[in-house]
């Protein structure tokens, strides 16, 4: 059973909108303030990546239920240039985006599950879940 809503990412204001969506869903699911802040940060990072590297795309927030646990699922997709070497992008210290520790490995560490698929010139889709403890 999944409930979904999504935000198209075209400019920086959309990042705020999808953060807000994510925070609302996180609150509804009963996540504490620290996890809310982590989830919105992960959402920001993914939305920002779309905005920076693909120009535009979409971030969806879903409630997800599995084996009696509930969780929040983020899906970020774009039709941008794609990632040539996923292994490399998932390495620590690869991002040159200024911030220390952010980038995709940082998001992966903030969340409980993480999957990425990408094809050159077709785009990228990233899925991440945080389970409620």
């Amino acid at each position: 059973m999944e409930l979904q809503s999504s935000v198209k990412i075209k400019n920086e204001w959309d990042i705020v909108a999808v953060r807000q969506l994510g925070r609302n869903v996180a609150k509804e699911l009963g996540f504490g303030t620290v996890d809310q802040a982590r989830i919105t940060t992960a959402i920001s990072e993914l939305a920002r990546n779309i905005f920076l590297y693909a120009g535009q795309g979409e971030v969806s927030i879903e409630k997800t239920f599995h084996n009696g646990r509930s969780g929040l699922k983020i899906i970020a997709q774009d039709n941008g240039p794609g990632i040539a070497d996923i292994r490399r992008v998932m390495e620590d210290g690869y991002t040159t985006s200024g911030g220390l520790g952010a980038g995709l490995p940082g998001v992966k560490r903030l969340m409980d599950e993480f999957d990425i698929q990408s094809k050159l010139e077709e785009g990228t889709i990233i899925m991440a879940i945080k389970w409620l403890r």
Binding site: I15, V34, T41, G101, P105, G106, R109
Partner: protein, 335 residues
């Protein structure tokens, strides 16, 4: 106004706005600020201190003080990112270091040399890599005529790539033992191997010497290597062991000239890599003359103690950070 100065204003402004109207836009600004703080190397304790000083100066209510933590939390998430990456990097770093250590041990097994016993000669040698793997190489061999062959080489560059190409020198040296008594010929052969097999951007400097304990002649040839010293006991004076010759790996047909020196009792032959003279004392490099002073200071000791003591002195001088691989060899004629 630089970032640190504007930070206090900006952060205070953020807090004030958030307390008037708590919303996602300001929390997002908090996250962006966090990124900036890290970019400007601001430590997390400074952020806590800033927060404290702002609320101390404010007339906010207790409830507002508590609400202000939402912004501090948002900013701290960025440090959490860095913190988690740190834990992961530490694990990786450890694995990488272990791996390099295994490789370095392997290198030592592969390239290792032991000091042979040569009648009337006191030999000391030390070779310390700047990082874990050594791009300097030295080797002793005692031939069938009781002569000592001594090689010292330095790949331009250091670390793993340098170490990798040093293995080749070793294989090549092993493969032509026939002309061991001709330093010039040895360098000529090696030059051909290096020229053929190695990356065009990789050069090697080398000095090869042969000490004949019967007539006490030291003959050597140099391929662009840092000149050694000859210490004359009689004159209590040092002179350079000059030697002209192109680096290995530049020009296939290079020939190497041989030089000869007569060694008297108490004299010392000092061979080194440029890592010894590239030591930095404060802002200046030590000069070859400074090095001579260090040798002077310890010259009454056995050769191994001389090289070890000099290394320890120069290591501390540079704050325990070597800039280059360090190799120092001393042959002292004792009778």
């Amino acid at each position: 106004m630089d970032f640190r100065d504007s930070l206090e204003l900006k952060y205070k402004d953020m807090l004030t706005h958030y307390l008037m109207d708590p919303n996602e836009r300001i929390l997002y600004q908090g996250q962006k600020l966090s990124r900036k703080l890290i970019e400007f190397n601001i430590a997390p304790e400074e952020v806590v201190s800033l927060h404290k000083s702002i609320i101390s100066d404010s007339d906010w209510s207790k409830k507002e003080l508590i609400d202000s933590f939402d912004i501090l939390l948002e900013v701290m998430i960025g440090y959490g990112f860095a913190y988690r990456e740190h834990q992961s990097l530490r694990v990786q770093q450890l694995a990488l270091k272990n791996e390099i250590e295994v490789a370095a041990n392997m290198q030592q097994t592969l390239l290792g040399t032991s000091i042979p016993h040569i009648e009337g000669l006191d030999i000391g040698a030390i070779s310390i890599p700047a990082n874990q793997m050594n791009g300097d190489y030295h080797h002793f061999v005692k031939d069938e005529n009781e002569c000592l062959g001594v090689a010292i080489a330095d790949v331009i560059g250091k670390g793993i790539p340098a170490a990798l190409s040093m293995s080749m020198i070793k294989y090549a040296l092993d493969s032509f033992p026939e002309n061991r008594n001709k330093p010039g010929a040895i360098l000529q052969n090696l030059n051909r191997v290096v020229e053929q097999n190695v990356d065009t951007s990789m050069f090697i400097t080398m000095c090869y010497g042969i000490y004949n304990p019967t007539n006490h002649i030291f003959s050597y040839a140099s391929a662009g290597h840092e000149p050694g010293f000859l210490y004359s006991h009689k004159h209590n004076a040092f002179s350079d062991l000059d030697g002209k010759g192109l680096l290995l790996g530049i020009e296939k047909k290079t020939k190497y000239k041989e030089y000869e020196k007569r060694i008297f009792p108490g004299d010392m032959i000092i061979l080194l890599s440029d890592g010894v003279t590239e030591c930095k004392q404060g802002d200046r490099f030590i000069e070859r003359e400074d090095l001579v002073q260090f040798i002077e200071k310890y010259k009454h000791l056995p050769s191994q103690d001389i090289v070890t003591n000099i290394y320890k002195d120069l290591e501390r001088l540079q704050g325990f950070k070597l800039r280059d691989d360090f190799t120092l060899i001393i042959l002292k004629r004792i009778s």
